[in-house]
């Protein structure tokens, strides 16, 4: 590939990757993005000599200034600084691409593309950033190396070391050589195919991969002491309804088929694996139901919690109904996390600040954020604002208390808990009657709840098809007319019916179950797993989960199938999860954990999973010494054979192949033929002599055909080291070679004839050729 083309290509590759990294953030307006794309594409052909760049430079300078003005105005009228800046960078890049001429222009293009990547770090937190950043590293490494060569060419190429024809006092024999060593002209070198080839690209490509690996290592090891003082990057999250302060029954569309992962949970046995049971991932709880809408009312009890801080980590221990206890009384109920199911949760940005955890959560552990203002937390929720997704730990007690204990629970309500008995006046009498009829005969609140749960599961049907209640009260419509609905209807109906029979209950929104990912051992919870259920209060035991929706616990985490496409989908999610876990949310805690793992690996510590794996590998190798030795020996033999083959090949490569010889220029062929003829007559060229020196030596010794050889040598130089020869030069070379051949034949004839002549005449015949051989 020509050097100039290679440099241009790598430059455009780097620009393309920077463009993709930025544009895939989905934050920029479509107009500038498309305009830039078209501009970049056209600029590829905007090259001298096709275009006189000087003539058009005013236009692009003007456009760049206009872009500055537009961006400044956009920012002053409330535009986002990063987005406005990114759009400006796009315009400037296009303007620069239209004016690229020297290495300096190319350097400015790289600076602009780099700034685009920097802007993308604030706008694009997706895996696409990592993917195209890798491409950018590869392309920009090539481009930077070629730029360095180009700039050095520009600096040295036009400064000849020696003016033509000036031997500068050098020895005459060397002057010709010196003249050949003049600085190269950049234009000629830009068209050279010898400077960079596949080997160069492969080598520098490997270097750029090493650079990327180095960047990744440095990324892991640079201490994370970030403060996030003035800036926080946002990440486009999942747009889903259902977790705001108010939720209208049937007010949002069907999301069951939405496969977007909203949360990934690492959890241990018995809740891990494809056979593990479903868990309810609790999020928002609603206490007030009015006119078909659930709300978090201002009367609802604030979340009772005790906060403990350890280093950079804050733990929120949920107290539930023990919130009113104080001092010694609370001490007796000190939060105990032993035996609780621990979950590491990676939550995507959902547009809500509520944190999810398996029912019922005992504690939430999150990174400290001292700048955050206290959130309005009610109904035992924990909230934390996040725009980039968040990682936190939850400790839960998924198993409900023993039924006997719940049956014995006294009917006592803590202060403020009467909101969980709230019923709006529009609840029809037949709903209340139905509830009373269903719970007839139930002795305890627990039995009532169970009876209602069973009734709803068994007598009504689950459907995702929405239907307007046509002005009727939605629960009444669901229970008596439509008799089918989705989870919100079931949970709302059960909550309302429980309240109508005097049992405190609340409606809860969250997610149910998920899909087990076998590649990285986590539960992927998708937007389609959104669910509603009921929590019932039992004095002394707290809140207990009831789920009246039919068919919710039948699947297990093994759903999603094991076909190729399902596996690929899970694999893709694993990549995204790893990106989120190891790049976006990589923090000091994870860094310290990684250092400890590395230390354990070197120490072979018992606690290290890597160390134990290594020990396992060693054990396996010692158990299979024979096969291991055979494999190692075979690999060594193959390596040695490969090495020998490559060595031999390299030696052969040093000699010109017959094919290469055949492909020589005809002038060179004629010259070499003449040289062979001369050598046969004893005028061989010594290895130390250049062709020109040889020609001069023959001229000095008055060798036959010396004058023709001098002319042929010059043609040979021109063909071998200059432009390829034209037909006239070839013909002349053939003529000269023929003349040399004739001169040699004549000389030979003369030599033979002279043997028969008297000695005196022989001496006068001129200088005899050298003895051959």
């Amino acid at each position: 590939m020509r050097f100039g083309l290679a440099h241009k290509l790598t430059t455009y590759l780097a620009v393309a990757f920077a463009y993709l990294v930025l544009v895939l953030s989905d934050e920029l307006s479509l107009g500038p993005v498309l305009l830039c794309l078209v501009g970049v594409a056209i600029s590829w052909w905007w090259d001298p000599p096709r275009v006189d760049l000087e003539r058009w430079s005013w236009l692009f300078t003007g456009l760049a200034l206009a872009a500055f003005g537009y961006s400044g105005l956009s920012f002053l009228t409330g535009g986002d600084l990063v987005i406005t800046g990114a759009q400006l960078l796009l315009f400037l890049l296009v303007a620069k691409l239209f004016g690229r001429r020297t290495s300096r222009d190319y350097l400015q293009v790289y600076v602009l593309s780099f700034l685009m990547v920097v802007a993308a770090t604030a706008l694009n937190g997706e895996v696409s950033f990592g993917l195209f950043f890798l491409g950018y590293v590869l392309a920009s490494t090539w481009a930077l190396i070629l730029l360095t060569l180009r700039r050095d060419m520009e600096e040295h190429g036009h400064v000849p070391h020696l003016a033509p024809g000036d031997d500068g006092g050098a020895a005459p024999g060397r002057a010709a050589g010196v003249a050949d060593m003049r600085g190269p002209a950049p234009a000629r070198l830009l068209g050279s195919r010898r400077l960079v080839g596949p080997r160069f690209f492969a080598g520098t490509g490997a270097v750029s991969l090493v650079i990327f690996a180095g960047a990744s290592l440095l990324f892991l090891f640079i201490p994370r002491i970030g403060f996030g003082l003035f800036f926080s990057n946002a990440r486009s999250g999942v747009n889903m309804a259902g977790f705001s302060d108010g939720v209208k029954l049937g007010g949002h569309g069907v999301i069951k088929d939405d496969d977007t992962v909203v949360m990934r949970v690492e959890i241990g046995p018995p809740f891990s694996g494809r056979d593990a049971p479903y868990l309810h991932w609790r999020g928002v709880a609603y206490d007030e139901y009015t006119k078909g809408e659930w709300r978090r009312s201002h009367h609802a009890p604030s979340t009772a919690k005790r906060v403990s801080v350890s280093g950079n980590v804050v733990t929120h221990h949920l107290l539930y109904d023990r919130g009113q206890l104080e001092g010694d009384e609370l001490g007796a109920h000190a939060p105990d996390l032993d035996g609780a199911a621990r979950q590491e949760i990676y939550l995507e940005p959902l547009g809500y600040d509520v944190l999810f955890g398996a029912s019922m959560p005992a504690a939430f552990r999150v990174a400290a954020n001292y700048r955050e203002r206290p959130r309005d937390e009610r109904n035992d929720e924990i909230r934390r604002a996040h725009t980039t997704g968040i990682k936190y730990t939850v400790f839960s007690r998924p198993s409900p208390p023993d039924a006997a204990l719940l049956r014995r629970a006294p009917r006592v309500l803590p202060p403020g808990y009467d909101v969980y008995l709230q019923l709006p006046p529009e609840i029809t009498q037949r709903v209340r009657d139905l509830a009373a009829r269903v719970v007839r005969g139930a002795a305890s609140d627990y039995d009532k709840a169970k009876a209602l749960e069973t009734y709803l599961q068994e007598t009504l049907t689950y459907t995702l098809e929405m239907e307007s209640p046509r002005g009727r009260e939605p629960i009444d419509h669901f229970l008596f007319e439509r008799r089918k609905g989705h989870c919100e209807y079931f949970s709302s109906a059960m909550t309302v019916m429980l309240r109508s029979v005097g049992v405190p209950a609340r409606n809860v929104n969250g997610f149910l179950g998920g899909e087990w990912n076998e590649y990285d051992d986590y539960v992927a919870v998708r937007a389609g797993d959104a669910h509603s259920w009921v929590e019932v209060y039992f004095a002394g035991a707290g809140w207990v989960t009831f789920d009246p929706t039919p068919g919710t616990s039948s699947d297990g985490l093994g759903r999603g199938g094991s076909g190729v496409m399902d596996r690929l989908r899970r694999l893709a999610d694993t990549v995204r999860f790893k990106w989120f876990k190891w790049v976006i949310e990589y923090d000091l805690e994870r860094q310290v954990g990684m250092f400890k793992s590395v230390a354990d690996l070197f120490r072979g510590g018992a606690g290290s999973s890597v160390g134990s794996r290594w020990r396992g590998v060693r054990q396996w190798m010692s158990d299979h010494r024979g096969p291991v030795a055979a494999v190692v020996g075979g690999a060594a033999a193959i390596g040695a054979a490969l090495f020998a083959w490559r060595r031999r090949r390299r030696r052969r490569a040093d000699e010109p192949s017959p094919r290469a010889r055949r492909s020589r220029d005809p002038v060179a062929t004629a010259y070499l033929a003449a040289l062979r003829g001369l050598a046969r007559r004893g005028w061989a060229r010594p290895p130390s002599a250049t062709p020109r020196e040889h020609a001069r030596a023959l001229a000095r010794d008055r060798a036959p055909g010396a004058a023709e050889l001098g002319a042929l040598t010059e043609l040979y130089y021109a063909a071998e080291y200059g432009e390829p020869s034209d037909e006239a030069a070839r013909q002349r070379a053939r003529d000269l070679a023929g003349a040399i051949d004739r001169a040699l034949r004549d000389a030979r004839h003369q030599q033979r004839w002279s043997r028969w002549r008297p000695r005196g005449r022989s001496r006068a015949a001129g200088q005899a050729p050298r003895a051959s051989g």
């Binding site: 604030a122 640079i222 003035f230």
Partner: protein, 357 residues
């Protein structure tokens, strides 16, 4: 013993890490470093991990830059070919040959600068690509302003490869002494003393151009005079020696007496005189004269031909000012032309001062 141990440790270290290298930040490198610091501060401030990733990339580029520039300079050896004749005030081309001894890696974008008394000469040679196992040559043009012996210490290899952020250099030892002849200029020879001089040949030797004998080739001889047949037979270079026109003889007397060595004007005048003498030497020798040079404390006896030219120019290149009390060497030669040049001679530098005998 302890010192020896330290020295051997240092030697081992040097063998492991290679020769000492010097690193200088280029202008682009300064901008790059400023951007790296900026990105680092932004990463710390925002806690944005993607900025940490970009920072890691910038830092690893710096590391890779160091490793690749080392690889470029490693395994490269330099040879310098000094021209046989260098005259003061006249540009010459110094040839630099660079050999890449690596078996796999090409070296890119290497500048070579010659070091004179530890300082670089103003000109550099540039090698764009040096394939593995290959040797390439380039030359730089330089002019030494004054005659004398110059000591070239070694050469410095400089590269900005691969990213142009740093300029890394390595000095390669290789001392050479360069003898710079006095400046020469066209001179008009003084008219011969009498027509007899220059015309009559010695009967023993005959006219110039006639074969006289063979002798071994010496450095500075005209390669055109090599007798190839005889050289081939003898296995060494032999030169055709022509008859010497001994009757055309000239003595160039140069007064190198300077009373005050601090007197810049006197020293300059002496330099001018030496230049005139050198110009006369060349002019006379080219016309076939046998030339003898005398000065205070210096006498170069009669001879002619290219090798004598070298001898005379060498003597003039090294001629030092001495006290005027030092007597002029040599005796008066009867029947020879005599040209006297000296600081007190006219500015043209050449004047026939006297005729001996």
């Amino acid at each position: 013993m302890k010192r020896e141990g330290e020295a051997s440790r240092r030697g081992l270290w040097r063998r492991l890490v290679g020769p000492r290298r010097r690193l200088r930040l280029t202008r682009e490198g300064q901008v790059f470093l400023a951007m790296t610091v900026g990105i680092g501060l932004a990463a710390i401030n925002t806690g944005n991990n993607l900025l940490y990733l970009v920072l890691g990339w910038l830092l690893s580029l710096i590391v890779a830059s160091g490793a690749l520039s080392n690889a470029t300079l490693r395994g490269v050896s330099v040879r310098r070919r000094v021209p046989t004749r260098i005259f003061a005030g006249r540009p010459f081309a110094m040839e630099i040959a660079l050999e890449n001894r690596k078996t796999r890696l090409a070296s890119y974008s290497i500048e070579v600068e010659d070091l004179l008394d530890g300082r670089p000469l103003d000109k550099r040679c540039y090698f764009l690509k040096l394939p593995p196992g290959r040797t390439q040559s380039a030359s730089y043009r330089h002019t030494f302003p004054r005659r004398g012996v110059y000591r070239l210490d070694g050469v410095r290899l400089i590269t900005r490869f691969p990213f142009g952020l740093f300029s890394k250099s390595r000095e390669v030892p290789g001392a050479d002494e360069v003898l710079v002849y006095p400046a020469v200029r066209p001179v008009a020879l003084p008219a011969p003393r009498s027509p007899r001089h220059g015309d009559a040949s010695q009967t023993r030797l005959g006219r110039r151009g006639e074969f006289f004998g063979l002798r071994e080739y010496r450095d500075g001889d005209d390669s055109r005079a090599i007798h190839w047949h005889s050289s081939a037979r003898a296995g060494r270079l032999l030169l055709r020696e022509m008859e010497e026109e001994a009757q055309r003889r000239v003595v160039i007397e140069i007064d190198n007496g300077v009373a005050d060595l601090e007197d810049e004007a006197a020293l300059e005048a002496l330099e001018d005189a030496v230049a005139s003498a050198a110009s006369l030497v060349i002019a006379y020798l080219r016309r076939g004269y046998a030339v003898r040079v005398v000065a205070r404390g210096l006498e170069v006896p009669w001879s002619a031909g290219p090798s004598h030219e070298h001898r005379l120019l060498r003597a003039l290149a090294l001629l030092a000012p001495v006290s005027p009390s030092v007597a002029m060497s040599g005796r008066v030669e009867p029947g020879a032309e005599m040209v006297r040049v000296g600081p007190r001679a006219p500015a043209s530098g050449a004047a026939r001062a006297a005729e001996a005998g």
